[in-house]
């Protein structure tokens, strides 16, 4: 291939026919998304650590090596900067690499390649070179992981202009958003909540949900907006259920996209309920919730009845498995925080 234009890759017009609905985990939905994208577009290649015959440590790439062979699915040397750096070269040559950083904290050696090149290449070259790379990062905790296996690194990426950062919270979104991410001409940091890999849903593939860049109201309510993403959507929904016992009607928003941020959807909800809290696992200081609270306040100050709260991990390194229950936001902790507002 000598051209780099987005028109040279085959579009998803040959998506496989709809298959019968079947219960499917998020890991299986991600697997299906990669497979279908590879069937539709011969320029999609997959590589990373253990993604070949093993099928990835979370089995997200299970069976793909056998189906597509070494030229399209390959194990790389164990070097994350090398994975991202070579993906950049492949993308310049017209491929659409899907690469895996095995665990959140293992993406840090690739920080320079992601921040200095993946994020900036399109702008540096005035749009002449684009890098349609998907960087899959299993992230966050609640799986009893040892140190360096439970980080929530989303704020690093979301604060970097040039990156698109998304995170699904359920199997249907996992499939749909990963298909959209692979088809995107922008580089996408695709953050997969590890604790949700084994969550199941009945899916008829190829399922398509709301556009990747949009937030979705996943439960309607009138009194409070809980803003969650990835692993904390489940927590927020459990909180909303629990709150009904107290007569509190909670609306839950699944952000899905951290960059861009869907101001319209979230602001509309906050203007309706007049109270909002952001829930994430990552530490609070300088975290993603700070951006959410700040921009919602700037845009909706006169609609608010109370300050926007952040209910997050503490400002400490992610703890050992036996202590993570104290770290993670829980429905009880969230409801207690909402109770600190003055309710008139």
């Amino acid at each position: 291939m000598t051209s780099h234009s987005s028109t040279t890759h085959e579009s998803s017009t040959t998506a496989p026919a709809t298959r019968p609905a079947a219960p499917m985990t998020m890991a299986a939905a991600l697997n299906a998304a990669i497979r279908d994208a590879m069937v539709d577009d011969s320029s999609v290649v997959l590589f990373g650590e253990d993604v070949g015959p093993l099928g990835g440590v979370f089995r997200v790439t299970d069976g793909l090596y056998a189906e597509f062979g070494e030229t399209r699915v390959s194990d790389s040397p164990l070097a994350e900067s090398g994975i991202i750096g070579t993906a950049i070269g492949m993308a310049i040559y017209g491929l659409r690499p899907v690469v895996e950083m095995q665990f959140d904290a293992f993406s840090y050696p690739a920080f320079e390649q992601i921040v200095s090149h993946v994020a900036k290449m399109r702008n540096r070259t005035r749009g002449k070179i684009q890098l349609p790379i998907v960087i899959r990062i299993p992230y966050a905790g609640d799986i009893g992981g040892v140190e360096h296996h439970s980080d929530s690194s989303e704020a690093y990426w979301a604060s970097t202009p040039g990156l698109t950062v998304v995170t699904p919270s359920n199997p249907a979104d996992a499939y749909s958003m990963l298909r959209e991410a692979i088809a995107s001409d922008d580089p996408v940091i695709f953050m997969e909540p590890k604790s949700r890999y084994w969550s199941k849903a009945e899916l008829a593939l190829p399922v398509r949900t709301a556009p990747m860049s949009t937030a979705v109201v996943v439960r309607e309510g009138t009194d409070v907006t809980l803003i969650a993403y990835g692993p904390t959507v489940k927590t927020a929904l459990a909180t909303a259920e629990l709150a009904t016992e107290e007569g509190l009607s909670i609306e839950v928003i699944d952000l899905r996209s951290l960059s861009p941020f869907d101001d319209a959807t979230v602001s509309a909800s906050v203007r309706k309920t007049s109270r909002a809290a952001v829930i994430h696992e990552a530490a609070q200081f300088g975290g993603y919730g700070a951006e959410v609270a700040a921009r919602l306040t700037e845009r909706n100050f006169y609609y608010l009845s109370a300050p926007i709260l952040r209910i997050t991990g503490f400002d400490i390194p992610y703890p050992s498995p036996k202590l993570e229950e104290y770290f993670l936001p829980t429905p009880d902790r969230i409801l207690a925080a909402l109770g600190t507002w003055e309710w008139s």
Binding site: A79, G85, I92, Q113, R122, N123, G127, D186, A264
Partner: protein, 385 residues
């Protein structure tokens, strides 16, 4: 490709890390004489017409480099990292590539861009501070000049691997400096290339300084080329001021890569004659006597002596080359008189392929701010008129 000049430590015995550095491969010596073929490492001296072409391109490139350095000293460019004295490495690299091969350069390799056909005004766009990079990458098959050290070596390996996966015969060549070989990305690039047998050539221009830090503070081994053995690829230690040797070795490495033989690491031993950039002061860290020694090993003068001795470089040829170089220098000065007008609103245009509402809002904010300033300035002008 001849392998008897491959540098390798004998793994059968304990490597002696203190052993003296070998003599770099050369085909034409400092005095401009062809070396005896028995000392040429199996490489043949390129034909006279090829050498004359390399000479012409080196002279033209140096004239450009000197011109741009002068413009920088006049304060007309934000910065310019000169490659003065490194012309043999730069021109040999470009001359060894086909038009559909790819070059992955650094900020110091502007004359490689020039030699590959990038117009002066496009090369200077970044140094003029207009945009971070300013040429047609796909037309010239040249990646943006990389500033973060050694990062581009991985991009070259990736592109070469993609070429191989597609069954193409495109080769990637990346230029690196000696300091860059200390970076992790250099190591990862060498390793990925060797494991994947990528059609890539790593050309390290060992100009002996990383800004101020000399090579013996970068590494403890004899040569950079020696490192190749650790990755499982051939390494070549070459006189980087002998364009004949550089061209012979780089061309052979490019052919090897194209024919499925995998990557090579080439070290060209040279010297950075100028400061790191115009904001550097080399008198703080090196003796001018060293610079004079290397001035005596000038790559252009050496080849000139040889070409004159074999009767290839005539007065007529020389006059033509001088004319070409001066015309380029004039064109380079001329392009500085044209003021590139870049719409500040373009700042928002290329960040994403997919439009963003928030960025559109910020673009509109800036547009309004500019309009208000212009209106206020017009009002002031009107009042004072």
């Amino acid at each position: 490709m001849p392998h008897d000049y491959v540098m390798s430590l004998n793994v059968e015995s304990a490597p002696v890390l203190t052993q003296a550095a070998p003599t770099p491969l050369r085909l034409i010596d400092d005095a401009g004489r062809a070396v005896d073929p028995s000392e040429a490492g199996g490489f043949a001296l390129p034909a006279p017409d090829i050498l004359l072409g390399l000479y012409r391109r080196m002279v033209v490139a140096r004239r450009f480099d000197v011109q741009v350095t002068a413009l920088t000293r006049q304060g007309r460019l934000a910065t310019y990292p000169s490659a003065l004295g490194q012309e043999a490495c730069e021109i040999a690299a470009v001359a060894s590539l086909r038009t559909d091969d790819w070059l992955f350069p650094t900020y110091r390799d502007s004359i490689a861009l020039l030699t590959r056909g990038v117009p002066p005004e496009d090369i200077l766009a970044s140094f003029r501070g207009e945009w971070h990079s300013g040429y047609d990458y796909y037309q010239h098959k040249i990646a943006p000049q990389a500033t973060p050290l050694a990062t581009q070596a991985l991009h070259a390996v990736g592109l070469a691997t993609a070429s191989k996966l597609k069954g193409d015969h495109t080769v990637a060549l990346t230029l690196l400096g000696d300091g860059a070989t200390s970076e992790g990305d250099a190591h990862e690039a060498f390793n990925f290339a060797a494991v994947w047998q990528a059609p890539v050539v790593f050309l390290v221009q060992n100009n002996q300084f990383a800004i101020s830090v000399p090579l013996d503070k970068q590494m403890a081994c004899r040569t950079i080329a020696d490192k190749a053995i650790g990755y499982g690829m051939p390494g070549y230690f070459v006189d980087g001021n002998d364009v004949a040797a550089m061209y012979a070795v780089v061309s052979a490495a490019v052919d090897t890569a194209r024919n499925g033989g995998g990557p090579s690491l080439i070290e060209g031993l040279t010297y950075r004659m100028e400061a790191h950039t115009n904001s550097d002061d080399p008198t703080r860290y090196r003796d001018s006597s060293d610079v004079e020694v290397w001035r005596g090993r000038d790559p252009i003068e050496r080849l000139e002596k040889y070409l004159v001795s074999v009767g290839v470089l005539t007065d007529g040829e020389r006059a033509g080359i001088t004319r070409e170089a001066e015309e380029l220098a004039a064109a380079t000065r001329e392009c500085m008189t044209k003021t590139a007008v870049i719409d500040p609103l373009e700042l928002f245009e290329h960040v994403y392929a997919t439009p963003r509402t928030a960025l559109a809002e910020q673009r509109d904010f800036l547009a309004n701010e500019i309009a208000e300033h212009e209106a206020a300035a017009a009002k002031t002008t009107g009042e004072t008129a």
